[in-house]
């Protein structure tokens, strides 16, 4: 078990190092931040001073090492636009994003998991077909189209809800519904196929033919086994709590991390983009790690398999 945990931790660490390297390579070497920020007509002395103060005049390897050192000390640089620490700017936006993504996550779980389980238990019925059609539509309709459709109906035509901004609780409803519906469709489809696969297993037939009530078979044999793959997807959804709302926040002018990312990218604000990239990667890697460890706890086969493979 300890070896299992250690390999997972090592893998998570390597992924983070790769992400930091990627951020460094892409964000530092693809353009000249000095001319981007100061403009092409800036006097050469101003550019030289800027480059020195940002460490851009150092050799690449030195920059790389300094970069790692700075990040592991928690220094993620200053926003080039308003001179404040990028980390603070991003942290200020996190509550707004979580105010959308956490309710949306519960909406996804509340709609998607029961719908998937029920559809699998009643395969071939009208309900099952409805869930499948909804799942396919949920995939084919991009979030910005769904968002604009909801705006068109509920804000423009009916006038019930505001179309953007973050002044009242009412402003959060359309973004949450947009995020929730899309995710619920995917979750329903996934839960349904996980459940169907489990229901086809011999041990379900055995449990059922030894005289257990079907409800008991489902509750204590099928559901726990079908939960294992579903936990992976839920882990992914938790990992994308911060990055999952980029498009939706932009449609609804919601002042969260996603909107900050889009604005920072458009302004080429390197420090802020890096900070969000690292934050998203860390959340993702952490939640994957937790899922892996949960897996090991839920399913002894994986734990032992991993030990044998390692």
């Amino acid at each position: 078990m300890i070896r299992f945990i250690l390999t997972r931790l090592l893998r998570a660490f390597v992924t983070i190092v790769l992400v930091v390297t990627f951020a460094f390579v892409v964000l530092r070497l693809s353009g000249d931040p000095a001319t981007i920020i100061l403009g092409p007509e800036a006097p050469p002395e101003a550019i030289a001073a800027f480059r020195a103060s940002w460490g851009l005049d150092q050799p690449v390897m030195v920059q790389y090492v300094q970069y790692f050192a700075a990040i592991f000390q928690g220094d993620l640089g200053m926003s080039m636009r308003d001179g404040r620490p990028a980390f603070d700017l991003v942290m200020e936006r996190i509550p707004a994003t979580l105010a959308l993504t956490i309710p949306a996550l519960f909406l996804k779980l509340a709609l998607g998991v029961p719908a998937g389980v029920y559809a699998a238990l009643h395969q071939g019925t009208a309900f099952d077909r409805t869930v499948m059609v909804a799942a396919v539509m949920g995939f084919a309709v991009p979030s910005f189209v769904l968002a604009l459709g909801l705006v068109l109906v509920f804000a423009v035509n009916l006038g019930w809800l505001p179309s953007g901004g973050r002044d009242t609780v009412w402003h959060a409803i359309l973004p949450i519904i947009t995020l929730g519906l899309g995710g619920a469709a995917a979750l329903a489809r996934f839960t349904r196929s996980a459940m169907l696969e489990v229901l086809g297993q011999p041990y379900i037939r055995t449990a059922s033919s030894k005289g257990l009530a079907w409800a008991v078979v489902v509750r204590s044999h099928a559901l726990p086994n079908a939960a294992i793959p579903t936990v992976t997807l839920i882990g992914f959804l938790v990992g994308s709590l911060i990055a999952g709302a980029i498009v939706v926040e932009s449609v609804f002018s919601w002042p969260g991390v996603g909107r900050l990312m889009v604005v920072a990218v458009a302004n080429r604000d390197l420090a802020v983009v890096q900070c969000i990239l690292l934050l998203v990667a860390t959340t993702m890697v952490t939640s994957n790690l937790i899922v892996d460890l949960l897996y090991g706890a839920l399913d002894p086969r994986l734990r032992h398999g991993a030990r044998a493979a390692a």
């Binding site: 951020a23 892409v26 396919v136 084919a140 991009p142 910005f144 604009l148 980029i246 990312m261 890697v285």
Partner: protein, 285 residues
Amino acid sequence: MTDIATATPAPALRLPRMPWYVALGMGWIIFVLAVALLADVITPYVFTAMDLKYRLVPPFETWAHPLGTDELGRDVLSRLIVSIRVSLLIAFGATVISAVLGTTLGFLAAHFRGIVEQAVLMLADFQAALPFLILALSVLAFFGNSLPLLIGLMGLYGWERYARIARGLAISASAQGYATAITQLGATPQRVYLRHILPNIASTLIVSMTLIFPEVILLESGLSFLGLGVQPPMTSLGNMVGYGREYITRAAWIMLCPATVIVLTTLAVSLVGDWLRDRLDPTLG
């Protein structure tokens, strides 16, 4: 082969039986492909041509502009046709790049094993661990924005899935008799992989392509919608929705036309893809 085909008469031209919705999906795919290929011939106007006298004309009002005009008096139908071409071009280019890249890396991993395989798998893990939109946003903003770059970047989307599939299939194929036999006859590894293993696993890869293709369309339209993908004066489906959004209260058709095309196209390709998967390779997830 030919002897048998001529000996048994009937089934040569029989179409495979497919449910009505798959047939509709096929029909729509053929339609958009035709529109994309014939875009130069069938656009009624140059897609950037402005006609300031006819701004924000609603659809079906005049035959001169069947789908109406936008805020600058540009013909929505012409813009839609050009957008279909651009979006499909990006999605096709990206899907092909991603499939070639992923399959090559998968084959390399299967052939060399050891450290090459570990490196490929580690990169695949890395790719899967980061939301692609975040990666794409970072790269696009800092490398500037051009059509070849956009296609190349989209071409990174999904490569890790092809790589995993190709690696797994190639490892099991090389354990089979035919690969061993050809290797012992002295064929080079390239020949073994490209002429013998690839045709045997092609159906699985093609199914993966049809499953990833709609995701690429959605990704490109999302980026363009945010104003970070295809740049004006060029236009794409997502780009049209993004700019049309500002007129949602007065001229919703500017946005609804491309949005409908995006939804129908992703829907059609994924229905056909699911159907192909069920027929050819039910093991794919």
